[in-house]
Amino acid sequence: MDITNQEYKKLYQKASPPSPLLKDASLAFVTGGTICTLAQAIRNFLLSQGLDEKTAGASLSIILVFLGVLLTDLAIYPKIAKFAGAGTIVPITGFANSIAAPALEYKTEGLVLGTCVKMFTIAGPVLACGLTASVIYGLLYYIFA
């Protein structure tokens, strides 16, 4: 019996198990929250060591990016991310992971054409959109402030 694409869609949607949303969201909340709490603890420590707010913030970002890259290199980050989902993608450690992972993966194709070219394949859109948004924000700030 022939089947239309609409009928087929109903059939495969019925056969496709959905993602466990509640479980995924809970795990993302817990792991994302843990990363943020840890980051806050590091920030408090930096402030207690006499760093001003701005320097403490920048130092914290550097520390978190370093940890993200280190855990990616040790293949630990993807293992956590498998359960954490958005909890490890949204924090800055996820951004570090998204650049370090292709940089490692494509090193077999050489330093220039492999690592350097491919390292932005995932984070590229984030960088492009982030830079564009910051330019627009800067212009608006310049004009109205």
């Binding site: 056969a15 198990p17 954490a84 992971n97 992972a101 292709p102 494509y106 995932i122």
Partner: protein, 338 residues
């Protein structure tokens, strides 16, 4: 050879002279572990890149199949093979040193069935006395081509499948003993409009249904005439869709229908909807299925290789995923059942 409808009927059926399967660690921990010829604990297969690892795995499968047949490479008539990597480099680099006539195939994960179909035509027609169908897939080389780098922290949806690290080789011969290839039905491309790369089972299931249905019509048979009907890599989702589609025609596939993607791994191996990749159906055929046929457990088997004919480019450009399914009918001699 004659053609009935869409189906080739081999009058002097080519025989399976030998076969071999080589798999990775995860596949070796699955339910078919005892049936494989070689399980590598190291998914790099001692190589520096994943692509070289895949080629090494394929050449090991070829070496083992030939050695089981006591057939020197120089006497092999022809090799038909392909894989998932761009320009089929897994296969061409594995076969580079062989100096055997080679026909490259691309049927995505249906490559083993496609290779058997073409090899059967070459052997039955008498152009070749022997021909080898071979294919492979490697989780790591496929992931980086189709999805994300291995170390990227992402989550897979429940409908996603796991590309098998596996290779299978089947050597066919004219005459002699062994499992016969009696019929083959080349598939037609079917595109039911599925766009999700994470639901390949849904994209391929329609083509599987259509090829199997055409085969039943051409041969005036049904599921009860076969001991096993097995699709390549539809996984849980596609397997259920095929059952549902036949249900609409009033045909119950459940008693004899299975899927290689469900046979290769067990539920605890975290492969979500099941296995996939060229190596999935090839390794299951070259281990569990052909062994069971030789032991007389199965006498008639329909091996239906399924392939999703997408590329990352076509998906990025918003195209839906076309599927294909090639069918090969395998029969063991009666006397083996004694």
């Amino acid at each position: 050879m004659k053609k009935t409808g869409n189906t080739y009927c081999f009058q002097d059926p080519p025989r399976v002279l030998s076969y071999a399967s080589v798999v990775g660690k995860k596949e070796g921990e699955g339910p078919l572990s005892r049936d494989f010829d070689y399980i590598s604990d190291d998914n790099t297969f001692g190589e520096q890149t994943w692509e070289k690892a895949e080629s090494r795995m394929m050449s090991m499968a070829l070496e083992r199949a030939l050695s089981k047949a006591h057939l020197p490479l120089s006497q092999l008539g022809c090799i038909l093979g392909g894989d998932l990597l761009n320009q089929c480099i897994g296969t061409t680099f594995a076969l580079r040193p062989t100096n055997v006539p080679f026909l490259g195939l691309y049927g995505a994960c249906s490559t083993m069935a496609e290779g058997l179909l073409v090899a059967s035509c070459l052997v039955e027609s008498g152009f070749e006395q022997t021909a080898c169908a071979i294919t492979s897939s490697h989780f790591c080389s496929a992931e980086r081509q189709y999805r994300y780098p291995l170390e990227y922290g992402g989550q897979r949806p429940q409908t996603a499948q796991w590309t098998a690290t596996a290779s299978g080789a089947v050597v066919l011969q004219k005459g002699g003993m062994g499992v016969r290839i009696t019929h083959a039905t080349p598939g037609r491309i079917a595109d039911p409009g599925v766009t999700s790369q994470a639901n390949m089972g849904a994209a391929m299931a329609l083509s599987a249904y259509e090829t199997i249905r055409r085969f039943f019509q051409d041969t005036h048979t049904g599921p009860s005439h076969y001991d096993l009907i097995v699709t390549g890599d539809l996984g849980k989702v596609g397997h259920q869709i095929v059952i549902d589609l036949f249900q609409r025609d009033g045909i119950d596939m459940r008693p004899t229908y299975d899927d290689c993607g469900l046979l290769l791994y067990d539920g605890s191996q975290d492969v979500h909807a099941g296995g996939s990749g060229c190596g999935c159906s090839a390794a299951v055929l070259c281990s569990y299925i052909l062994k069971a046929m030789e032991q007389g457990i199965f006498r008639k088997v329909l091996f239906c290789g399924t392939g999703a004919l997408l590329s990352p480019t076509s998906c990025n450009q918003g195209q839906s995923i076309p599927g294909i399914c090639h069918l090969v009918c395998l029969e063991a001699d009666e006397k083996w059942n004694m």
